[in-house]
């Protein structure tokens, strides 16, 4: 089966390409990227005026299956990913049961093969039961298909265990992803500690609770030579720490979420639980520092931290609501609008953050549009106005603070292994 994307602007920082070219896919792989490829017997997708990029990868999401299928399933999460322009996602291990052993990893992969329209890469647990005590069988998890390990959402309190996992995981050349939060310092906080927590009387989650752990992780990564990846960095201090550590040769990577670069703590002013997330939305100065890190190359990836919750779970007192928002179906539009349309970065950098960056960190085969690479392609329309409509999400969940937002630019087609899994081009006027 052949698919020809005709006349689009191919933006692929991995091959340093930014030109109007055709892309020919055959049998799940890219076979040719060139001017005016004759269609022959290929199905033609006319993408003139659109951007053709290597498939976007969300390296941090929660698909909730197994165990919390009322929030999301691998099938619904994958549909949300496809609709959001992602050809692959990496899902966190805090399922029920926890993905701390190979059978769970294999279940996720089997379920994904059967039900998911995008590639699903499981992330295994660092510790058994996410308890932060004993290492999970990381070798077996990797053999079963895990691409990284993390105790996401449950910070690794023990510095010694974190050192051990950096050492141990280096055998398999996988990153150790850390949700950086010193639980003693964050002290049950539910919003950023500052003017908003003070006015609302809500418990504050101080920025230093993140930075102390980022510093610990970087220090241990330097000592061990292990690969640490800082999840959803939210503060100016975290970005600065990673920037400095990397300049000293530490193998560290860092992701940010669209909500942390698009919103501040002010979004919590009316006790809207859709703005409650962990780490919390921070200050304008933090937001600007994240943007600076995106622009100067410090940030390696944009990840959604897609965290679906049922509306019943969010319709409670602010302090009692679970942390997290959905992000798969808003991330690319938020980035196109806030980063590209605003003039902060160019499209090649955006594509790097969504594709080459996360692919490199997780060691995935995609991230570039070159012969031999998987035919995973994201097509963007930078001129399109997208109005976020949570009621139309493919995700099972609706917990987004962006409902009703009007954004410039969005994904219009998603191709996985040469198959069009999401497409709004045909319905375009």
């Amino acid at each position: 089966m052949k698919l020809l994307l005709k006349g689009g602007r191919v933006v692929d920082p991995a091959t340093k390409t930014d030109a109007v070219l055709d892309v020919l896919c055959e049998d799940g792989a890219i076979v040719k990227v060139a001017h005016d490829i004759p269609p022959g017997d290929a199905k033609v997708l006319a993408v003139k005026g659109l951007v053709v990029a290597p498939g976007f990868v969300d390296m941090h999401c929660h698909l909730r299956e197994p165990g919390q299928e009322w929030k999301e399933t691998i099938e619904s999460g994958a549909r949300a990913a496809a609709a959001g322009g992602f050809t692959a996602v990496a899902c966190m291990p805090n399922t029920v049961p926890v993905n701390d052993e190979r059978s769970v990893t294999e279940f996720i992969r089997a379920r994904a093969r059967e039900k998911a329209c995008v590639r699903v890469y499981p992330i295994g647990a660092i510790s058994k039961g996410l308890k932060g005590e004993e290492l999970a069988e990381i070798g077996d998890l990797v053999a079963g298909g895990a691409v990284a390990v993390s105790d996401d959402g449950r910070p690794v309190v023990s510095g010694m265990l974190f050192r051990k996992v950096l050492e141990y995981a280096s055998m398999f050349d996988i990153p150790v992803i850390d949700h950086c939060e010193d639980l003693d310092l964050s002290d049950g906080g539910v919003v950023n500690e500052g003017i908003v927590s003070t006015v609302l009387g809500l418990k504050g989650w101080n920025h230093t609770a993140e930075e102390v752990m980022v510093f610990r992780d970087l220090t241990l990564a330097r000592e061990t030579g292990g690969r640490v990846h800082i999840a959803h960095a939210s503060t100016a201090g975290s970005v600065a720490l990673v920037r400095d550590a990397r300049a000293r040769g530490v193998k560290a990577t860092i992701e940010v979420t669209p909500h942390h670069f698009a919103l501040t703590e002010e979004a919590c002013r009316d006790f809207d639980t859709r703005s409650k997330m962990n780490p919390p939305l921070r200050t304008e100065a933090d937001r600007r520092a994240l943007l600076e890190g995106i622009a100067d190359g410090t940030i390696d990836a944009i990840a959604t931290d897609h965290a679906p919750h049922h509306s019943d779970e969010k319709s409670v007192e602010f302090s009692r609501a679970p942390f997290g928002i959905v992000g798969l179906e808003t991330a690319v539009s938020l980035a196109l609008d806030r980063l590209v349309a605003s003039g902060l970065i160019g499209l090649p950098r955006l594509v790097e953050l969504f594709s080459a960056g996360p692919s490199r960190i997780l060691g995935l085969p995609g991230g570039r549009l070159a012969p031999g690479a998987p035919a995973d392609i994201t097509v963007l329309d930078t001129a399109r106005t997208v109005v976020v409509d949570a009621s139309a999400f493919r995700s099972k969940a609706r917990n987004t603070p962006f409902d009703g937002w009007s954004l410039k630019g969005g994904p219009v087609a998603t191709i996985v292994g040469g198959v069009l899994v999401h497409d709004v081009l045909t319905s375009r006027a």
Binding site: T198, G201, V316, E317, F318
Partner: protein
């Protein structure tokens, strides 16, 4: 003129005109409690649910007396009897209460924003009787009423608020109110009990009790919960009192006619010495008295203000 919102969720959303309206209206209600027959028919046929999801004696009693003196029918619904312990959500409990068609739900809750959650789903008027460390609007209104009673005004006064600022809903409502009414506010407490960004609320922040008291017209002492010591906010009650306890001697730094307030309940020998609490500057019991009039005014205004004939 009337209040713009059918709910009283906090002082922050009110403007100066609305605050003055409540205080002026409370003046007319104050004398009802002086009469032999302490009852007017103003809210006859109206139902008020006092929904207290956190223990409270004085605020609940004050609301209840205010409701009775307005001839409203009131129901007390508190945690011990509530279904919240059975796992029902706050919204579902409120909707069940609503199904019995009350006109008001007065809510006290340990979580900030709980009244706002109810206001989004209920038809009744929601009155915030204290939500966690967020707001306690009727307390700030009765404090302002008491200050006005003694000082004749709020604008231009210097008000010192002392103690556990971080965990106090009273201080937040008072800061909003006093700033809107043109008073100067200085807050003092140990740095561990001063929340971050507090100066952003337009107040002067100090860790010196003496500096805060200097030249002030009103001293508001806040309750210090004894369990804060265990969590490391200060080393001992003894040291707390040495640094922040109000004594007659320290009170001399304030203006000679300064008044001393406390939202209660007092910890004698912790926030203030007994000679101050019981001394001539203390208006602590006046605050309690005025609480009834202010809450009557709030309920009356939220009910639509109706006609003033009811007051006659």
């Amino acid at each position: 003129m009337n209040l713009k919102s059918p709910h009283l969720l906090g002082i922050e959303p009110l403007d100066a005109g609305e605050i003055a309206l409540v205080l002026d209206t409370a003046e007319s209600f104050a004398q009802i409690s002086q009469r032999e027959i302490k009852k007017v028919p103003t809210l006859r046929g109206k139902t008020v649910v006092n929904f207290f999801v956190e223990p409270s004696t004085r605020t609940r009693s004050s609301f209840e007396i205010a409701e009775k003196r307005l001839s409203a029918d009131s129901l007390n619904f508190s945690t011990s009897t509530s279904s919240l312990v059975k796992g029902e959500s706050l919204i579902d409990t409120a909707k069940n209460l609503e199904a019995m068609a009350p006109d008001f739900i007065v809510i006290r809750h340990s979580e900030p924003g709980a009244p706002h959650l109810l206001a989004r789903v209920c038809r009744s008027s929601i009155v915030n009787a204290g939500d966690g460390a967020h707001e306690h609007p009727t307390q700030a209104l009765l404090d302002a009423f008491t200050i006005r009673q003694r000082k004749g005004r709020l604008a231009g006064l210097r008000v010192a608020i002392i103690g556990d600022i971080a965990h106090s809903r009273v201080v937040r409502s008072n800061i909003h109110l006093l700033k809107k009414m043109g008073a100067e506010v200085v807050v003092a407490g140990p740095p561990t009990l001063l929340p971050l960004g507090l100066a952003g609320m337009g107040v002067t922040v100090t860790t010196s009790l003496d500096a805060a008291l200097e030249g002030c017209d009103v001293v508001m002492m806040l309750r210090v919960q004894l369990e804060r010591q265990k969590r490391g906010f200060f080393p001992s009650i003894r040291e707390y009192f040495q640094l922040f306890g109000l004594t007659e001697e320290r009170l001399r730094r304030a203006k000679s006619d300064a008044i001393v307030m406390h939202p209660g309940p007092i910890n004698r020998g912790v926030e203030m010495a007994s000679d101050v609490a019981d001394g001539p500057a203390s208006v602590i019991l006046d605050q309690v008295t005025n609480g009834v009039a202010v809450r009557m005014a709030v309920l009356y205004l939220l009910a639509g203000g109706a006609s003033h004939e009811a007051l006659a």
